[in-house]
Symmetry: C2
Subunit: 241 residues, 2 copies
């Protein structure tokens, strides 16, 4: 399934305890009720608490006589109005939304001021200070390609590889906001929010574009920027071959 | 001033009692605090409870040493995050935002389903039944021009003229929604919501496009359609010569 959600009032995608208010938990509760047996859902991106999605992908396994369209309508009928399933289809049995994903696109929205962003205020981080866009773009060039992003990982006890590849970082600017779109083969916990927090410090003149390189040399989280707020981040798309 | 607001949690534009939770009341409270004397604000459109605005216009009179820019920042600093002043300038003393307005543009958004409109759900009316757009467009042709819109007026005790002119009604359709944009020289209470409710009944096949003409002959509110929900309506722009 492809789904979207306003993450504002959720504790993120991933169910941890049965009582957590998570997207995964909501979906599993509805599917388990429909199927009359426990159903487990696998999501492509484990979005953090407060992060939104316009193109999250998830899969589950189920023996049923219902058609995909019937299941889609069943789930949507029971979902609250801040989660919506856009598409649902049968996939090969070995498909896994996270393990088979070849890339993900995330967007971070920075509102230039509060007054101009009344309608999208829950989907952006309001940051009124002026930003040096040229410096931010220059800094983003150091982030492209394959690197050890340990300095940008929010999980200090991460045991697995922290090497990731960023294919592109694109900036769009309008009168009221800046959007930064990150496309990579995968992202570590809080990685995009720390990348954005670091780029914001460059934009504010608190660090130079060149200083990004040191983060790959030192691999020290404490030298990177602050973790930008969750509300500005949206998972746009998950790519598959 | 030109301002925008998410009307969801307000009792409309117009202050009636001092304790009402209205847009006008919020602005007057802040300006009165700033000026140290009562300040009254005049709005161009008296939007109903729950109706939104992207280009509301309002004026007030004030002796002050502050520049317009300082006043704008003062107000925005005290406003909640669902109201924002976009622009503020000095105007001739006789300017009145409502009396001088020559036209208004309102937009009504109809969401085709809930799941596809997670992020804009508070700014549209979700109406899952299929709509005959050709019939709605045909019906809208009867509404154009100068008519007595008494059948489309929500105020049964309206003493003043109910004659208004609609210059254009435009339809935009996307995969997830329909937008109807109304441009006229002025609109009666609930008029756009009743126009929309009537067009929806045409789209549902409950009445014919031609039946619109009878509403101008009979001038009977009970023969027009239901009042469409406030949440779908936004005041986009106020025109001046």
């Amino acid at each position: 399934m492809i789904l979207q959600y306003d993450g504002t009032r959720y504790n993120g995608w991933q169910r941890q305890r049965a009582t957590d208010n998570t997207i995964q938990g909501k979906l599993e509760m509805i599917l388990t009720k429909m199927a009359g047996q426990p159903v487990e859902i696998h999501g492509a991106g484990r979005t953090d608490a407060g992060v939104h999605a316009k193109g999250q992908v998830a899969n589950f396994s189920l023996d049923t006589d219902r058609t995909p369209e019937e299941i889609l309508h069943y789930i949507n009928d029971y979902l609250p109005d801040d989660i919506g399933i856009l598409y649902l289809s049968v996939v090969p049995p070995r498909f896994h939304s996270r393990l088979n994903a070849t890339g993900k696109i995330y967007q971070y929205r920075i509102g230039k001021n509060r007054a101009q962003n009344v309608f999208d205020r829950k989907y952006m981080y309001i940051h009124p200070a002026p930003l040096d866009m040229a410096a931010m773009k220059a800094a983003s060039q150091y982030l492209l390609g394959k690197h050890d992003f340990k300095a940008f990982c929010g999980n200090a006890r991460m045991k697995k590889s922290t090497v990731r590849t960023i294919y592109s970082i694109e900036f769009e600017e309008s009168e009221s906001e800046i959007r930064i779109t990150y496309y990579g083969n995968g992202f570590l916990q809080y990685m995009i929010r720390i990348l954005t927090g670091t780029l914001l410090e460059v934009g504010e003149g608190k660090r130079s574009p060149e200083s990004i390189q040191e983060l790959f040399d030192n691999l020290d989280r404490s030298l990177a920027g602050a973790t930008a707020p969750a509300c500005g981040l949206t998972l746009l798309e998950v790519k598959y071959d």
